[in-house]
């Protein structure tokens, strides 16, 4: 927007375009490094404050000497900063060590579970968008009528229901009472229904509200009136002009939501005993299984940064005004 004041030629496809791409790629790599380093640092110290893994690993009946032996073998007797430096060096080599409980490589355990979580998040976001966007447009187009009011009321209500409550409700009614759907486990398409429904409900509500307000805002601006004055149908103005403009904030939101779904699958995965990273993360935290927790958080952090980079790319495609900034 800054070039509003400078009149005339401002070419977008100048010779600097290639350099710009390289520069923004560099910025993204840097951001990835800074974010993951920051998160891992916070995580490292938080975990060390949360309890003694040596005691857990050694078992309940272990003597002090046994616990001390475990502590030394895990390297936990070293000064904290030495441990931290060692941790960073290992992370740089993508070596997160082995699970304190199962002795399997921690990163492998996380990567094994990741597809299930990604599948859950992907299906949720696709379903939510396919349902939420048309409903949001409808709510905007009919905002003065009963349909529109009912839709926004429903969306507001749904958004206010905590996901664990909705999950329990769905589980009780559809799973236990009616027996239509399996209440726990993963692996088959029917196992996805309840977790997806639980996660999607709130995402749909948010998408409906965001689409509605975005479309209404666009309809209040002069360019939609000008499109009508060019002879466009109301339908065309709604979908081609108003929705298109509403997609810009919507894309930004959906990006954040995908990241949320991956990191926030914890509750729903635990509730439905769905074998994703979320459930494994919760279990590992309770067992003080540091290597697995660290590996999980590392993978999620990298994914979130990558997803927001993809979202930014998409936004640049959608909104020409962003292409010159970055």
């Amino acid at each position: 927007m800054s070039d509003l004041a400078t009149p005339e030629a401002v070419g977008t496809r100048g010779p600097t375009a290639a350099g710009g791409v390289l520069r923004s790629a560099l910025v993204w790599v840097l951001r990835l490094l800074v974010v993951t380093l920051g998160i891992l640092t916070i995580l490292f110290f938080l975990l060390r404050l949360s309890g003694d893994p040596a005691a857990v690993v050694a078992g309940a009946g272990a003597t002090d000497a046994q616990v001390e032996q475990v502590r030394v073998s895990l390297g936990l007797d070293q000064p904290l900063l030495t441990q931290y430096a060692q941790f960073l060096a290992d992370t740089a080599r993508l070596d997160f060590g082995s699970s304190l409980l199962t002795d399997q490589p921690a990163l492998g355990m996380v990567l094994d579970r990741m597809p299930a979580t990604l599948l859950l998040a992907a299906i949720t976001i696709v379903v939510s968008t396919l349902i939420g966007v048309p409903l949001g447009v409808l709510a905007a187009a009919r905002h003065r009528r009963t349909t529109g009011r009912l839709l926004s009321l429903l969306a507001a209500l749904l958004q206010a229901v905590p996901s664990f409550l909705l999950g329990i409700l769905l589980l009780l009614v559809l799973g236990l009472h009616l027996g239509w759907l399996p209440t726990y486990g993963s692996g088959t398409p029917v196992h996805l229904v309840l977790p997806v429904a639980t996660l999607a409900a709130i995402t749909i509500a948010r998408i409906v509200r965001l689409t509605r307000s975005g479309v209404l805002q666009a309809l209040g601006q002069e360019f939609t009136g000008a499109a009508l004055a060019r002879g466009a149908t109301r339908r065309r103005v709604l979908w081609n002009h108003a929705l298109r403009n509403a997609l810009v904030p919507l894309t930004a939101f959906v990006t954040i939501e995908v990241a949320h779904l991956i990191s926030g699958a914890v509750i729903v995965e635990s509730l439905f005993a769905y074998d994703g990273v979320g459930r494994q993360l919760v279990d590992s935290i309770f067992r003080r299984d540091y290597p697995v927790v660290q590996a999980t958080v590392f993978v999620i952090a990298v994914l979130v940064v990558l997803i927001s980079a993809a979202g930014d790319l998409l936004l640049h495609r959608l909104d020409p005004r962003m292409r010159r900034e970055a």
Binding site: L4, G225, A229, G231, A232
Partner: protein, 330 residues
């Protein structure tokens, strides 16, 4: 009123908003005629109903505003009674629209050329996208956008204000309409650019025979480009006539007030003679002549009876009970 066959002939137009039993009369019996190829200036303060009047021609009234009477004659047909598909043919096809602020009126996510492509293809679905693109480039070239082929692929934010308004005019003229409604087309622009925009409208009239309704509060613009002027006050036309006549011999006290309140270099330093008071709100219009509470010449009749437009000179009408004194305020 000049020509026996006006292109646009609005008679007794009434536009209302609010409850049916106590509506706000936003436009209260407007008469206005535009001949083919004629430039008419529609002048008035904000809220006088000039923009609403012209929006009703396109059937694009804001929600909540309804036409409760009158006729919008368009080449013999009544557009107030026209179907939505017929109105779509008129919008952008037979009547083009230029807005006050081109940075608001162009879709920020649409390439400038695609605005023209859309307009062309909406009115001629058989036109190929490729052919429409070529015509869009020609249309941009015609309004003086330099390097039109490249510029047509750019987005509105890459255009300066003046270039955006040129593009807006190219959109309005894309289908060679018979009338262009220009709603304050220069208000948002630098003074140096205003003249260029006016030139474009004039050129459209001269070369394509397009009639123009220029909605404005700037009497200077009107003097420069219009053939005839209609002055609106509180939802009605109070005076209409040829531009020279209306400026040299204004009949309505409101018109005289407007002309007198323009700054003059000669009277520098002196206070501008403003019209006392405020225009009435649409919900609280006084009975009789709507201008009478502010009128220095108001008599008893003005308080009770609304004046009608009456002929005062050749093609010069005014709605006022008080005859103009010889050698009026200016």
């Amino acid at each position: 009123m000049t020509s026996p066959d006006p292109l646009l002939e609005i008679t007794g137009l009434r536009l209302e908003a609010g409850a049916a039993d106590a509506p706000a009369r936003l436009v209260d019996g407007v008469d206005l005629a535009v001949a083919p190829g004629e430039v008419v200036g529609l002048v008035g303060e904000s809220g006088s109903g000039k923009s609403l009047t012209m929006r009703s021609v396109l059937g694009l009234l804001p929600s909540g505003v309804r036409a409760s009477g009158g006729r919008v004659g368009w080449d013999g047909e009544d557009l107030l009674a026209a179907s939505e598909p017929r109105l779509r043919e008129v919008r952008g096809g037979e009547i083009g629209m230029v807005y006050q602020d081109p940075s608001q009126a162009l879709d920020p996510l649409m390439r400038v050329g695609d605005h023209i492509v859309e307009t062309l293809r909406l009115h001629d679905p058989r036109l190929s996208r490729r052919a429409a693109r070529e015509r869009a480039v020609e249309a941009l070239a015609a309004v003086g956008v330099p390097d039109p082929a490249r510029r047509s692929r750019q987005y509105p934010h890459e255009f300066s204000g003046g270039m955006k308004q040129r593009a807006m005019i190219a959109v309005a003229l894309a289908n060679r309409p018979r009338l262009v409604i220009a709603d304050e087309p220069t208000t948002a622009l630098d003074v140096t650019i205003q003249a260029q925009v006016l030139d474009l409208l004039r050129t459209a009239r001269d070369e394509l025979g397009t009639a123009v309704v220029l909605i404005t509060h700037d009497l200077g613009l009107v003097a420069e480009i219009a053939d005839r002027v209609a002055v609106m006050y509180a939802g009605s036309v109070v005076e209409v006539g040829p531009v020279g006549e209306l400026f040299s011999d204004p009949q309505h006290p409101y018109t005289r007030g407007l002309l007198a309140s323009r700054p003059h270099l000669a009277a520098r330093g002196a206070a501008l003679p403003a019209i006392a008071g405020q225009p009435p709100l649409p919900t609280g219009r006084p009975p009789g002549c709507a201008f009478h509470p502010r009128c220095p010449l108001a008599g008893d009749l003005c308080v009770t009876d609304a004046p009608l437009l009456e002929l005062r000179g050749p093609d010069h009408r005014t709605a006022c009970h008080v005859p103009a004194p010889e050698g009026a305020l200016r």
